[in-house]
Symmetry: C2
Subunit: 714 residues, 2 copies
C-alpha cells in the first residue's frame, strides 16, 4: 500500500464509521467497515449485481451485497444484466444462472444449500451465487460477504455449503407482557401492544441478522406459554411478524400451553383423547395456517415444572404430542416436544427425562421431535450430555441449548459458548458404537430421520446491543454458525465474529480470541469446577448460594441436593452404588463414569461423592484441586481484564468501555464465587485453602446475607 | 527437651491457657504464658522475692513478678527475707539493696533509671532490681519479666536503663460524654458517670499496662476540651483516677479549654492579660493540686480549628501559655502548648505552625513545652518531619504522634507504627549541624532543656482488646518502648511484642514480624505513595476521596488543596517557585527538598508538582510509578493474608479469626484505595495504567457515591 492510500485507509477506518454510527453494538457482526484498498484490489472485477428473478428474498440479497460493498469500498454495486464483473445471484431457475452453470449441477442443488463459484466465460468474469431456494441464495450472499471480510479465496471460489440441520431455531422465552424469562438484554423485542399495525424496524434487523448466520426458524414466545398466544387477537400479531420474517427465510413457531382447549377454547378439559380436544386443535391449527401458510409448528413444555400436560389426564407424552402432530400434519407443521421433565419423587432428577421418554419410543407421530436440553439437569456451566441422546431409536431427537446466560453470569459475564455447544455435539454417546456423537445422532447421519433440528434459547432483547453484553452477541452468532455446520471449530467461529464485529487487526484478534476460547472453562473454574452443579442462588441463579435452604422448597431446587457436601466429601453419587444414573449411558461410557479412577475429572463430582482427600491425577487432593480451580478462575478473569485494557487502541471507546465495565463486574463476581464456595465447602472439608492461593476477602456469614433483588426475567 | 517434657509443655501451652482465659486480647502483652521448662531451668535459683520497704508501688512490682512466675512456671514466688534465690527489689534506700550494691553506684542512680544485676554474695545468688524511685524499680521488674520471656541474659545480668524522655505521655481524645474523637476501640475507658465512687477494674489494668512499658503520664481528655473538666464535679472524678494511677507512676494531666475562665468561671473574658483571668487560673490550679498533689499539668489546643485562645484578645500563644505556666509553676506543673495551628488564609497550611511559633521563641516560661505533631500537616501516612523541630532555640519542643489510626484505616488495618515513629525521631533536621535528629533535639541531647517529653494520641478504648485491632496493641507498646528508648529498633520492639502477645515460636514470630515491619510502607503504597497526602474522605478520613468537593468547606480541608492534580501533573509545589515551604528547613535539607532530582521520592509529591511523564530513578514515569506503588500495596496486603493464614496452627482460634477478618477488610479496602486514586488521577494523567498491573474492579463513578455513615468518633 502506498503511503497515500495508507493514510486514506487509516482516515476512513477510524473516522468515517465513527461519524456515521453510534458504536452501540446495534450493528452486530454486520458492520461492513472499510476494507484495506490493497484487499479490495482483488475484487476489481466485481462491479455489478445480475439478478433476473422477481423475489423479495433475492432483492434483500442484492441489497445486502450492495450495502456491504459500499461499506468495504465506498462504492455500491449497481444492478445490471449479465455482463463482465457481475455477481450473479439467483436460484436454479434463473436464466443467468443456467447460462453459467452446468445443468446437472443445478439439478443437484437441493433445499437451502448454496454454491459460490468464480466463473470465467467468454472472456468475462462472474461470481455466481446460487441455490435451489431463494433463501439459499441469500445465505450464499451472506457467506460471500463473510469470505470477503475474512479475505479468503476470492477469484477462485468454488464453494458448496449445505446446512447440517433442516430446522435451526431460536426459542424466545418472551412473555406476552414483554418480560423475558431468563432474559438479560432488556424487554422483549416483540411489541405486542403495537402489533399488528406498527412494525418496529428491529423486526427486520432481527430477521436479517438471523439470516446472515442461517437461522431459519423462531419460537416467538416462552415455553411457559400463555394460552392467550393462540387467541385470534395474538395470532394476527404473530402473522404480522411472520410476514416480516418470511423473505428472510424464517418460519414462525409458537410455544403452546397444553391446556389451551380448556383455557381459551371453553372445553371442559384438554384431555388429548377427548375428541372435542382433538377437534379444537385441528380447528385452531387451521386458523393459524389461514393466517400464516408457512407456519412452522408448536413447541411444547408439558407436565414440567407445574405446567399442564397429558399426564393430568392419565395420558402419556406421546398421546399429548400426537394430538398436536395430527392437527399440524396436513400443513407440514411439526411438534417439538420438550423432554425437560422431572418431578419431586425420590428419583435422581438427572435420570427422570430418560425414564419417562425411553418407554415411549416408537409411539410418536413422524412430525414429532423430542427437544432435549444438552445436559440431564439444566444448562449448568458444565454437564455431561443428556443420556437421552441416542436412547430413542424410533423418534427424532434435537438439542436445546441455552444461549441466554441463566447460569453463566447473565449479561455481565463474558463467556463464549461455542466450546460448550461443541462439547455436547462432539460427545460420543456410543449408541451406535464408537463415534456416535450427539451431532451425528441429531443431524440425521446415524438416524435418517425425516426431521432434523437444533434449537437454543435466545439471548436477544430490546437493548441497543441486542444481547446486553457485546460479547454475548458471539453466542447468538456461534449458535447460528454451528446449527449450519457443527463441524466448524469454536476458534474459527470466534475468528469470524471478532473480525466482523470489532477489528481485523491481529493485535486485537489474537488476544481477544484467546480470551473467548478459554472463557467458558474460566467461568466453570470460578463457579462450579470438577462437576459441581447447581449451587446457584435460589430463583435468580446469578450468584453462589451453596448453603441455600428455603423452607418448603422442592429439594431438587436446592443446591444441597446437588453438591451433597458433608464431612466425608463432596459430590453426587450417581454410580451403581448411588442413583445409578451412569446406567443410562451406553457402554463403555457407563463403566467409565462409574469408575472414579476413569471418570473425567471435570465431571468427577457430577458422578461421584468424592472424599476430600481423594488423590487426583495431579497428585493433589480433591479439596486442593477445588481450591486451585476456583483460584484459577479468578486469576483468569483478571488476565482478561489486562487483555481487554491492552486492546483499547484498536476499537471504539464506547464498546471498549462497556466491555471493560462488564469485566470489572465479572472479576468482582469471580472472587465472590470463589470465596462463597470455598468458605462454605471448607465448613465440611475442615482443611485449609492451600497457602499459595490468594486468601478470601469475604466472610461467609456476610455472603450468606446477600439477597439480590432480581426477578427471573426483566 | 525430653519427649515427655515436650508433651507436657505442648499440652500446657495449648490447652491450659485456653481453659483459663478468653483469648480476647484483654491481656495485651502481659499474658505470662508457660515457658519451656528447659528455659525455666536457668532460673532455678529464683525462688523468693525480697523487699524491705513499705510501698504500694513496690507491692505492685512484687506481685507482678510473682504472677508472671506463676504463668511461666506454674509456681508463685513467695516473699522472704534476703536469702539465696531471692529477687531483691527496692530503691536505693533499701537495706537489702544497700547490702548488695556499692554505695557510689546507688548514689549514681537517678530518677526512674533502674539497674538489674545478677549478684553472687556469700555463696548466694541474688537478682537485684533497684532504682532511686519506687516506680523505677517497677519498670525494672517489668523489664526483667520481658527479658525472661525473650530468654535473654539471665544469670549474668548487668543492665542499666534510663528513660530518654522525662515525660512519656498518652493523649486521650476522650470526650466527657465518653465518645472518643478519632477513637476506634469503643467508647472511653473513663466512666465519668460512675466516678468517683465506682472504679472500673480496667483503670488499674490500664495503669499496669502503661507502667509495663514506661509510660508515666496521661492526658485524660480531648484536646478539643470541654471547660467542664475543670469544674469541681469533674475534678473529684479526675482525682479518683489519679489515685488509682499513682502507684503505677502515672501522673494525670488535663486538656483545658482556654476560655474556661469565661465559660465556667463567670468572668467576662479569658484574656490572658486580664488580672482576673490570671487569678482565676491560679485559684483553679490550687484547687486541682489540693485534690491531686502530683498533678502533671495542662495540655492546650488554642486558636486551632475554631477553639478559643489568646489571639481572640489580640494576645500571642506565649501570652496564653505563660498565664497557665505561672499558675502551675509553684506546684511543678507544666504546660504542653500545641503548635497544631493553621488558619484559612492563602499561606500553605504546612508552613503556618512555623510562621506562628518561631517569632515567639524565647517568650515562653520555662515550664512551657511546645507540642508539635510529627509532620507539618496532620498525621498523614507519610509526611516529612515538621520544620518546627530545631527551629525553636529557647523553647522546649516535644513530638506528638498519633497512635490511633485516624489516617491509617482506623482499627481495621494492620499497620505497625514503630517505623513511622522512628522515621520522625531519626530525621536529621540539621538544626545544629549534621546529626541533629528530632530525637536529639527533643530528648535534651542537643538542647539541655529542663523539660523533655514525648506524647502520642492513644488508641485505647473500652473494647475487650483495648485497641480494636489486636495488632494495634503493638503501636501502644511501641510508643511506650520508644518513649523510654528511641534507639530501640522497630524490629526489636516487634519481636518483644509478638513473643509476649502471641507466641515465641519462630514459625510464628518471623513471618508475623516481617509483615509488621513492612506494614506501614504497604499502607502508604495503597493509600498515598510518593508523598501524596490528605486525599481522605471528608470528615471521617477512612476511605479515599481525592475528588472530594464539599461546597462551603475550608479549602485546606479538601483533598484537592493537597494533591493539586491537573493535566500537567500531580503534587503540591512547595519549592521556591511555589509555597516555598522548603525554606523552613535547615540547609542542606531545604536545597535537597527544593530540587526535584534530589528530593526523596517518597516525599516527591509533597514538595513538587511533578509532570505525569517525569522520569523517576527507576526510569519509569511518575504516573507509572504511582500505579506500581498502589498495586504493590494491594499485593502486599494479600501476602499478609497468606502469612496470617499460614500461622493459624500457632495461636488461639479467636485472635486468629479476628485478625483474619480484619485483614480481609484491609485487602478489600486496599483495592478500593487503589482503584479510587488511580481512576481519579487517571482523569488528569490520561495515561493507561501499566498493563501488567491488575486492573481496576470498580467504576470511579460508583466509588464517588460511597458515603460512609461514620462520625469522627465513637
Amino acid at each position: 500500500m502506498k503511503q497515500n492510500n495508507l493514510a486514506i485507509f487509516i482516515f476512513s477506518l477510524f473516522l468515517f464509521p465513527l461519524s456515521l454510527f453510534a458504536e452501540d453494538g446495534s450493528r452486530l457482526w454486520l458492520r461492513y467497515e472499510p476494507l484495506p484498498s490493497v484487499q479490495m484490489e482483488k475484487y476489481k472485477y466485481l462491479i455489478y449485481i445480475a439478478k433476473d428473478e422477481k423475489s423479495a428474498t433475492l432483492d434483500i440479497a442484492a441489497n445486502e451485497l450492495s450495502v456491504a460493498w459500499e461499506g468495504f469500498s465506498g462504492k455500491r454495486l449497481s444492478l445490471a444484466s449479465l455482463q463482465n464483473g457481475a455477481v450473479v445471484i439467483g436460484t436454479s431457475k434463473s436464466k443467468n444462472i443456467k447460462a453459467l452453470l452446468p445443468k446437472e449441477e443445478l439439478e443437484a442443488l437441493k433445499g437451502e444449500s448454496f454454491l459460490i463459484r468464480s466463473v470465467k466465460k467468454g472472456g468475462n468474469n462472474y461470481t455466481v451465487i446460487a441455490s435451489a431456494k431463494e433463501v439459499g441464495t441469500l445465505y450464499g450472499v451472506f457467506h460471500f460477504i463473510r469470505l470477503v471480510q475474512m479475505d479468503e479465496g476470492f477469484g477462485h471460489l468454488d464453494i458448496k455449503e449445505a446446512p447440517k440441520y433442516a430446522i435451526r431455531i431460536l426459542n424466545h422465552w418472551d412473555n406476552l407482557d414483554r418480560t423475558v424469562e431468563r432474559g438479560y438484554a432488556g424487554h422483549s423485542l416483540w411489541k405486542w401492544e403495537e402489533l399488528p399495525n406498527t412494525l418496529s424496524p428491529r423486526y427486520k434487523e432481527y430477521a436479517r441478522a438471523n439470516a446472515s448466520i442461517g437461522i431459519n426458524a423462531t419460537v416467538l414466545n416462552n415455553v411457559n406459554a400463555s394460552p392467550e398466544i393462540l387467541t385470534e387477537n395474538y395470532l394476527v400479531k404473530v402473522k404480522a411478524l411472520a410476514d416480516v420474517f418470511r423473505p428472510y427465510g424464517i418460519k414462525v413457531y409458537l410455544a403452546v400451553n397444553f391446556s389451551s382447549p380448556k383455557e381459551i377454547g371453553g372445553l371442559s378439559d384438554s384431555d388429548p383423547l377427548n375428541p372435542e380436544v382433538a377437534k379444537w386443535w385441528k380447528n385452531k391449527v387451521k386458523e393459524v395456517y389461514s393466517l400464516i401458510p408457512d407456519f412452522g409448528g408448536f413447541l411444547v413444555k408439558a407436565n414440567s415444572e407445574g405446567l399442564p400436560g397429558p399426564q393430568d389426564y392419565g395420558r402419556t407424552h406421546a398421546d399429548g404430542a400426537n394430538i398436536l402432530a395430527d392437527a399440524l400434519n396436513p400443513y407440514g407443521g411439526v411438534v417439538m416436544w420438550r423432554a425437560f421433565v422431572y418431578s419431586t419423587g425420590d428419583e435422581d432428577r438427572a435420570k427422570q427425562a430418560y425414564l419417562e421418554f425411553v418407554p415411549l419410543d416408537g409411539q410418536f407421530r413422524d412430525n414429532v421431535i423430542i427437544q432435549i436440553k444438552n445436559g440431564p439437569v439444566d444448562f449448568q456451566p458444565r454437564e455431561p450430555f443428556s443420556p437421552l441422546f441416542g436412547a430413542l431409536n424410533k423418534t427424532p431427537e434435537m438439542v436445546e441449548f441455552q444461549i441466554t446466560q441463566e447460569y453463566l453470569g447473565f449479561s455481565n459475564h463474558l463467556v463464549y459458548l461455542a466450546p460448550l455447544f461443541k462439547e455436547t455435539l462432539d460427545s460420543d454417546t456410543y449408541s451406535n458404537g464408537s463415534g456416535s456423537t450427539v451431532a451425528k445422532i441429531t443431524d440425521g447421519t446415524l438416524r435418517p430421520d425425516k426431521l432434523t433440528a437444533i434449537s437454543a434459547v435466545a439471548n436477544i432483547g430490546e437493548d441497543a446491543n441486542w444481547c446486553g453484553h457485546h460479547f454475548a452477541q458471539a453466542n447468538w452468532y456461534a449458535f447460528g454458525r454451528l446449527a449450519w455446520n457443527h463441524q466448524l471449530s469454536a476458534e474459527r467461529i470466534a475468528d469470524e465474529w471478532i473480525r466482523m464485529t470489532f477489528s481485523r487487526n491481529n493485535e486485537f484478534v489474537d488476544p481477544v480470541k484467546s480470551m473467548m476460547l478459554t472463557s467458558r472453562e474460566t467461568v466453570v473454574d470460578y463457579m462450579m469446577p470438577l462437576g459441581i452443579h447447581h449451587v446457584f442462588a435460589f430463583g435468580h441463579h446469578y450468584g453462589p448460594e451453596p448453603w441455600c435452604d428455603v423452607p418448603g422448597a422442592r429439594p431438587d431446587w436446592l443446591p444441597k441436593y446437588y453438591h451433597k457436601a458433608d464431612s466425608t466429601g463432596l459430590g453426587f453419587n450417581r454410580t451403581s452404588t448411588g442413583s445409578n444414573a451412569v446406567s443410562q449411558y451406553f457402554s463403555p461410557l457407563n463403566g467409565i463414569y462409574n469408575d472414579i479412577s476413569r471418570c473425567p475429572e471435570n465431571l468427577l463430582l457430577w458422578f461421584h461423592h468424592v472424599p476430600w482427600d481423594y488423590k487426583m491425577k495431579d497428585g493433589k487432593t480433591m479439596w486442593d484441586n477445588l481450591c486451585y480451580k476456583y483460584d484459577s478462575g479468578v486469576r483468569q478473569i483478571r488476565e482478561y481484564q489486562k487483555i481487554w485494557d491492552r486492546i483499547e487502541p484498536y476499537i471504539d471507546a464506547r464498546r471498549f468501555g462497556e466491555v471493560q465495565s462488564k469485566l470489572k463486574i465479572q472479576a468482582h463476581d469471580a472472587v465472590w464465587w470463589k470465596d462463597a464456595c470455598l468458605l462454605y465447602f471448607q465448613t465440611f472439608s475442615k482443611r485449609p485453602v492451600p497457602y499459595d492461593i490468594e486468601r478470601p476477602v469475604y466472610e461467609l456469614e456476610d455472603l450468606k446475607k446477600i439477597k439480590l433483588d432480581m426477578n427471573h426475567h426483566n
